[in-house]
Amino acid sequence: MRNGPLLVTFFTGALLVAFFFIPHHSAQKMQSVMLDWANVVYAFALILGSITLWTVHQRKVTSRAPGWAFSVVTLSALAFMTGAGVLQGVEEGTLVNRFYNIANYHLVSTMFALLAFFIASAAFRAFRARNVEATLLLVTAIVMMIGRVSIGEYIWQGFPALTEWLLDVPNLAAKRAIAIGIGLGAVSTALKIILGIDRSYLGRS
């Protein structure tokens, strides 16, 4: 039984790899069924996740841990949205849909807008010319910024072409080199797990 999870991983992984090369309709149907099973597992895991979310925050509230008031908000929101969703559904005009559009949508937009400030602070730190590499980064960033705005072309007509060259040649070469490494690494990791070479995902050596 100890090797049960390894066998399940091996057969599932090997079958899905095989289905990638077999276009036969029965193989594709079986692949589709397996992907449906994944959705069922996901639904159960979501219930399990919600229970752990409830337990963790309930513990914070009962022990008055620092920030417990935020946990009250989380628990109230979880209970309200789950209850409203079960009673009314999630279609247009329901409570869940209205709260999603009124609160969640705007909160997400606000968070996303904050990204501009984070980019500015990260760029300020990264673009300090401390050594040759950082100076090179700074110069490239300045060329890129000037070349991507319309005033850049007025300053020097070559800026747009220079930015295109930077993006299409050195940048793309580096990105492709990293992408090849990632592709091979992904295959290697997947094979290690399918073949049971790497068992650390089960907490084993």
Binding site: V17, F20, F21, I22, P23, H24, H25, Q28, A38, V41, Y42, A45, L46, L48, G49, S50, T52, L53, T55, V56, R59, P66, G67, N104, L107, V108, M111, F112, L114, L115, F118, S121, A122, A123, R125, A126, I178, A179, I180, G181, I182, L184, G185, A186, V187, S188, T189, A190, L191, K192, I193, L195, I197, D198, S200, Y201, L202, G203, R204, S205
Partner: protein
């Protein structure tokens, strides 16, 4: 009229991928055989991974928690699998050192796997009883709700070390910059090329692309695990040869050689 059912047993447009996969398997088994015979497997030092031990030690000395973020990927992403295997190593070490670990999860299935891996790692370290329920917990499957919860935790609890491993997207800079503000030692690794610059800017150490996948083998230092990295390097050399041959053939007026790499 019913559509015609596909009865083919093999997709010829994917023959090149099958050859590549078989070649990779051969490299893998050859290197595993070498490792079993005791051949030395050199793996270049990766500063970011060496720093994990330092970060965990620092957290233990300061009596503050270690925050491990497994990314926003689901179980179909290899980055998430890598995040789980690395968590297992990290959890074993935090169990040995007796320092607090916090793992907020994004995907419910991945969170279940992470919880199981961390719990088992504590048991393997002989400290199963010190595994705190809620160490690995689900937060939200909404990107910015997750960010709000995690950054809030960073600012309130001030973890001594933040470890970001897995697939990250627009939230990478939010998380890394907030961690930077709190003064935590930050180690990040992701297979999302577009997020790498953000981690390089905001973290103390960054693992670039494939280094994320090598992390588990590197931290474990088991010969067979290291053999898989050697196989990966052989495959990389083969890919480089194929690229060079394709470029030369295309330059000499034979673009069909380069097209052999295309798949359907």
């Amino acid at each position: 009229m019913t559509p015609e059912l596909d009865t083919r047993l093999f997709e010829p447009g994917r023959l090149n991928l099958l050859i590549g996969l078989v070649l990779f398997l051969i490299f893998l088994f050859v290197n595993i055989a070498r490792a079993k015979r005791g051949a030395s497997m050199f793996i270049r030092p990766i500063a970011g991974l060496a720093a994990i031990e330092e970060a965990l030690g620092r957290a233990t000395e300061m009596g503050r928690p270690v925050l491990y973020l497994p990314g926003l990927g689901d179980m179909s992403e290899v980055g998430t699998l890598a995040a789980i295997t690395i968590l297992s190593r990290v959890a074993r070490r935090t169990a040995e050192l007796g320092c607090d670990l916090e793992v907020p999860g994004y995907d419910p299935v991945a969170t279940t796997m992470l919880e199981s891996a961390a719990r088992e790692a504590y048991v393997q370290a002989g400290r199963g009883d010190s595994f705190r329920p809620g160490t690995v917990h689900y937060v939200s499957a909404q990107q910015f709700a997750y960010v709000a919860a995690v950054t809030g935790y960073m600012l309130r609890e001030r973890p001594a070390a933040n470890i970001f491993m897995g697939s990250f997207y627009a939230e990478s800079l939010f998380l890394a910059e907030t961690g930077n503000v709190t003064g935590a030692i930050q180690i990040a690794g992701t297979d999302q090329v577009t997020q790498l610059p953000f981690f390089v800017c905001a973290c103390d150490y960054a693992l670039l692309g494939e280094e994320l996948y090598a992390a588990s083998a590197y931290l474990g230092q088991e010969p067979i695990q290291l053999a898989t990295i050697a196989a990966q390097d052989w495959a990389k050399a083969a890919a480089a040869i194929i690229v060079v041959v394709g470029v030369i053939a295309t330059a000499l007026g034979h673009p069909e050689v380069g097209r052999l790499r295309q798949t359907q």
